[in-house]
Amino acid sequence: MTTRKIAVIAAGLSQPSSTRLLADRLADATTRQLQSLGVDAEVQIIELRDTAQDVVNNLMTGFPSPKLEAAIETVTGADALIAVTPIFTTSYSGLFKSFIDVLDPAALTDLPVLIAATGGSERHSLALDYAMRPLFTYLHAVVVPTSVYAASSDWGSTGDAGAGALPDRIDRAARELATLAKESDRSSRMVDPFALPAGFSPVGGYGAQ
């Protein structure tokens, strides 16, 4: 059976956090969906809280600590990513964005991503579509159509006419991600850190030849 690496970012700040709870549910559902497609999932969860100071230090010094570097490599070398943030003041949390800011801008190109968020009220659910989705689109990641927002009330409701209950939304998003993850070969790609741009010449295009 083939194996796909699934990275999970949980940007919740408290412990335990509902963000982590949602991240775990999404990871489990994705694993199940992949299995039904005949693929094993290798899931690695990153609680950004554990690297919060390292992220800030990286912003200031320009380089990651060994612990943060390991987290970055988990994300950038995965076949698919599940990114879950709490919604703070109408958008992703500052810690979540700071982590994204220390990544190489090209590092997420082609990466299938499931975006999800938690919040106190369902009124912020569109933050996924006006903040999270454009962020990953800018990075040339492939964001699945279904995003999952879990308000506090979702943990004890059966959904409504417009949307299914939280477990239904989780399953639908996981199915979409699993389909893309199955075809992803990102984790087996060799990345040459010294690749020169196409057409690069050490003497330039003029004069010196």
């Binding site: 200031m60 010094t61 600590s65 850190p193 690069f200 050490p202 004069g207």
Partner: protein, 389 residues
């Protein structure tokens, strides 16, 4: 070749020195800030001290924005040249992107004559965004500027009359930069880069030196970059990978008792430009080559560098930043010169393979050029060259 290099310098093999960014920073322990004038004079004093304590190189940064003062390196290096006898004067770095290569060619050829050849340069792109537009350039052209400007600089130093057309400056027809390089030999050039393989490739292509600043990143990062440069140096036919010319930066603060060094340096570290108010000093010393402790700790840390980078040619230390007062910096240089460098010289000389070049000097470059001319003129040794000419 090694005898020629050693004749002009105290050390055979490795060269040791100081590089400064020239920041004007408030001393956090007493809240005093030197004036620009004081800081400039302090840098000149520090440079003379570098020779006095037996080191080989003083390298000056180039900046065009406060709090940094050295905007005009050859003015300061010219003064230092007159006040010293052995010291090699260098830069860290010369902005190959925003300076006109014609002016670099002339300024540093002039400095070569003034300093009797004790001059080399380190090229850098500069990482202050607004400096590019202030000099009429675009930071997105950083690499193409570094590549094209250096290609022109190479020719200006090597060809008497240059015709040139490029993308970034006005064309030249029959231009001769003046004065010509001393003894007809261009200054040695290092290329500094923190993360660009293009610059390592450029250094390797020309057989120039490559310098890793070694201040802001873990050594593993620079090990990969230097490994790449060495491999490409060999690829371009300049010699074995182990014969590539490598320089490293570094940073230290010392006291006889390591606890005193930690206590004394901590306020400067915590408030330093760039990394201040970020990682703890303990994390930073663990993750980067910064060493705060006894002279023996500094010796141990830097003697191990060749285990990671291979035998190399030049080690520069950053010692005078973050608002450290002049008196402290001079004491640090005494410690470096008396207790650290002599031991490092001995350690680096031990088991240094015979094919590893010494640190570059003007005399060695002249000798190498003369040897090459002799080989061409000598038909027995180079019959094909003689036929071709």
């Amino acid at each position: 070749m090694s005898t020629i290099a050693s004749a002009s310098n105290t050390g055979t093999g490795m060269q040791f020195g100081i590089f400064t960014v020239g920041d004007v920073t408030t001393d956090p322990t007493n809240d005093t800030t030197p004036t620009e004038h004081q800081r400039i004079k302090n840098i000149l004093t520090i440079a003379q001290k570098v020779e006095e304590v037996g080191m080989d190189v003083f390298a000056l940064g180039e900046h065009h924005n406060p709090p940094f003062v050295p905007s005009s390196p050859t003015t300061m290096l010219g003064y230092i040249a007159a006040k010293t006898e052995r010291l090699i004067l260098s830069t860290a770095t010369t902005l190959i992107t925003t300076n006109d290569p014609v002016k670099i060619a002339e300024d540093y050829a002039m400095l070569q004559h003034v300093a009797d050849g004790r001059v080399d340069l380190m090229m850098g792109r500069g990482n202050t965004g607004p400096v590019y537009p202030w000099f009429g350039k675009d930071i997105r052209d950083g690499i193409p500027l570094a590549i094209e400007n250096y290609a022109l600089l190479q020719r200006l130093w090597r060809e008497d009359f240059v015709n040139w057309e490029g993308k970034f400056r006005t064309p030249l027809q029959g231009f001769q930069s003046t004065p010509r390089p001393l003894d007809g030999v261009a200054p040695f050039v290092w290329h500094g880069s923190i993360r660009s393989p293009e610059i390592a490739e450029q250094a390797a292509y020309y057989g120039d030196g490559f310098f890793a600043n070694n201040i802001f990143w873990p050594k593993e990062h620079y090990m990969k970059l230097i490994g790449y440069y060495r491999q490409r140096f060999e690829h371009y036919g300049h010699g074995a990978a182990s014969e590539a010319i490598v320089g490293l930066g570094g940073q230290a603060f010392m006291a006889k008792n390591s606890q005193d060094a930690v206590a004394q340096f901590r306020p400067y570290f915590d408030n330093a430009p760039v990394y201040g108010h970020g990682p703890t000093m303990e994390d930073f010393t663990e993750q980067t080559p910064l060493t705060v402790g006894s002279p023996q700790q500094v010796i141990d840390r830097y003697a191990s560098m060749r285990d990671y980078y291979g035998d190399y040619q030049r080690q520069l230390f950053l010692m005078d930043h973050a608002g450290l007062p002049l008196k402290t910096v001079l004491e640090q240089l005494d410690l470096l010169g008396e207790e650290v460098i002599p031991v490092l010289r001995k350690e680096f000389a031990e088991n240094r393979p015979a094919n590893v070049p010494d640190g570059p000097t003007h005399e060695a470059l002249v000798a190498k050029r003369d040897a090459a001319l002799l080989a061409v003129a000598e038909p027995v040794e180079a019959p094909e060259a003689a036929v071709a000419s």
